[in-house]
């Protein structure tokens, strides 16, 4: 190759360099993998907790109440909840920051001609940004709806929890009684399934686990299965409210 062509990295000026300045991409990916794993465990536990609604109003409300008074007096009232909130918020900020950083670096490194002709097998991978944004919007709505009960996100009949009793069951039924809310919830859960399907695979690889080709297929299937279990477990709840199973 006789024509001297400058490398992207040696250009004094020009487009911003993919890997220069700021957090190295390797660490950004490790941060995304660890914070993503925290979210994956959280949504699984959250889903299992949600399923307690099928044990009846009393059981569900007492579970909601327990979350507030858990480990009292070692932890103050709502201590566990606040620890979870702070950790999850920190993870969320780090996850979103790294996602934006990596997406930008990827776009710069790829350049003007986008990769075309990608198949459905990478659909989840390609839509990580879209599903991520939907999930972010959903998280905001979900907190306004069922944690704060702030109108118009929350139901009109919202009853805030007190130190003695929680009204989670009634709030949930009132919220999902509004079909647009139930529909948004189902869409968000579909996005969660897709996000987890690729996220699990990506996290395992980014954490440095050398996955052989055959195991990689199994891992991809495992990621999809995990996403579907979490999403479908949750989706049964608005469906049960809309069909009148839960009242």
């Amino acid at each position: 190759m006789s024509t001297p062509v400058q490398s992207r990295s040696s250009k004094a000026s020009g487009p911003p360099k993919a890997g220069h300045g700021g957090l190295p991409s390797v660490y950004a990916k490790l941060i995304m993998a660890v914070t993503g794993a925290v979210f994956a465990i959280f949504v699984l536990v959250h889903m299992i907790g949600n399923l307690k609604i099928y044990q009846g109003e009393e059981a569900f409300n007492s579970y909601a109440h327990w979350l507030r008074v858990a480990f009292y007096p070692v932890l103050p009232y709502e201590g566990l909840l606040w620890i979870m909130r702070v950790v999850l918020l920190a993870c969320l900020v780090a996850h979103v920051y790294c996602a934006v950083l990596l997406r930008r670096r990827g776009a710069v490194a790829r350049g003007r001609w986008r990769r075309r002709g990608l198949g459905l097998d990478v659909f989840a991978a390609r839509t990580m940004m879209v599903t991520g944004v939907v999930l972010l919007l959903f998280i905001v709505f979900h907190i306004l709806d069922l944690t704060l009960g702030a109108a118009p996100a929350g139901p009109d009949e919202f009853q805030a929890a007190t130190h003695e009793v929680s009204h989670a069951y009634a709030n949930l039924v009132a919220s999902f009684g509004r079909w647009p809310v139930a529909l948004f919830y189902i869409v968000a859960m579909a996005c969660l399934a897709l996000h987890l399907a690729h996220g699990v695979v990506s996290a395992v690889v980014d954490l440095g686990v050398g996955v052989r080709p055959r195991v990689f297929s199994a891992l991809a299937a495992g990621g999809l299965l995990f996403g579907l279990i979490v999403a479908l477990g949750n989706i049964t709840i608005p469906v049960a409210v809309l069909t009148g199973v839960l009242q």
Partner: protein
């Protein structure tokens, strides 16, 4: 067989490129893609036009010199096969082919279908080697290496450096290349004394020259050397290991 071929024509690195459509009426199923381009170039030269510039060398899939994007897929439609081993028997009479260079900001176009892949060389130069003094060969059994370990090292060393993994990646990442480099050199004892230093160099140059990996897995679909997907995780693993080793070389 008659083929319609859309080819990317670009004068030089600075010029704006464009697709030009040609017809080849006497293509044959047994022709490879470089042979098709040779045929087309004969036509162009006879007509007094500039021939299409493209990289080609061994034409038997071992050198890694050739590499073009065919209908949006690096190397062409047959998976894990270099451009020179892609044949027209995968196409039908009257088909339309779109030939363009490997697409990545890290691979600037030199002319037509030729790109500058020296970014890959810079990754190798930043640590992807073993510094050993040449001397007499050691006795055969002084260091016993299990067959599977040797085979794994050989699997990763099969990379021919064609750059298709970068061109296939929506992020323009070279993790399959860089990971194969790190994996094969750490598989065997000769590469161990410089393991951490190598990882620091290779990973930082990889990040300067290429994009981040998002585990799309597109690279392994096109890799003509069949580098396994386990290579890509070696980049993060070796980087994390090197960070823990602090300033040590091994």
């Amino acid at each position: 067989m008659k083929l319609t071929i859309e080819v990317w024509r670009q004068e030089n690195a600075e010029a704006e490129g464009r697709f030009v459509t040609y017809r080849v009426d006497d293509a044959a199923p047994e022709m490879s893609l470089p042979e098709l381009l040779d045929r087309l170039n004969d036509q162009l030269v006879s007509a007094g036009e500039e021939p299409i510039a493209f990289d080609t060398d061994c034409r038997e899939g071992i050198c890694g010199t050739c590499g073009i994007t065919v209908d949006d897929v690096p190397h062409g439609k047959v998976p894990n096969t270099p451009t020179c081993r892609q044949h027209l028997r995968s196409y039908d009479d009257g088909d339309h082919l779109k030939l363009e260079p490997f697409r990545s900001a890290s691979f600037p176009v030199i002319r037509d279908l030729m790109v500058d892949r020296s970014a890959l060389d810079r990754v190798i130069a930043s640590g992807g080697y073993v510094s050993v003094d040449a001397g007499t060969a050691p006795d055969a059994d002084t260091r016993q290496i299990p067959f599977q370990v040797a085979e794994a090292g050989l699997d990763f060393s099969a990379c021919i450096g064609c750059g298709a993994c970068v061109a296939a990646c929506p992020n323009g990442a070279s993790h399959l290349f860089s990971g194969a480099l790190l994996s094969h050199l750490t598989a065997l004892p000769q590469g161990r004394p410089e393991r951490a230093r190598r990882a620091r160099g290779v990973v930082s140059t990889t990040e300067e020259e290429f994009g981040p990996c998002s585990v799309y897995g597109e690279c392994v679909e096109v890799c003509p050397a069949g580098i396994p997907i386990s290579a890509i995780s070696a980049v993060n693993r070796e980087a994390a290991r090197a960070a823990v080793r602090r300033r040590r070389d091994d």
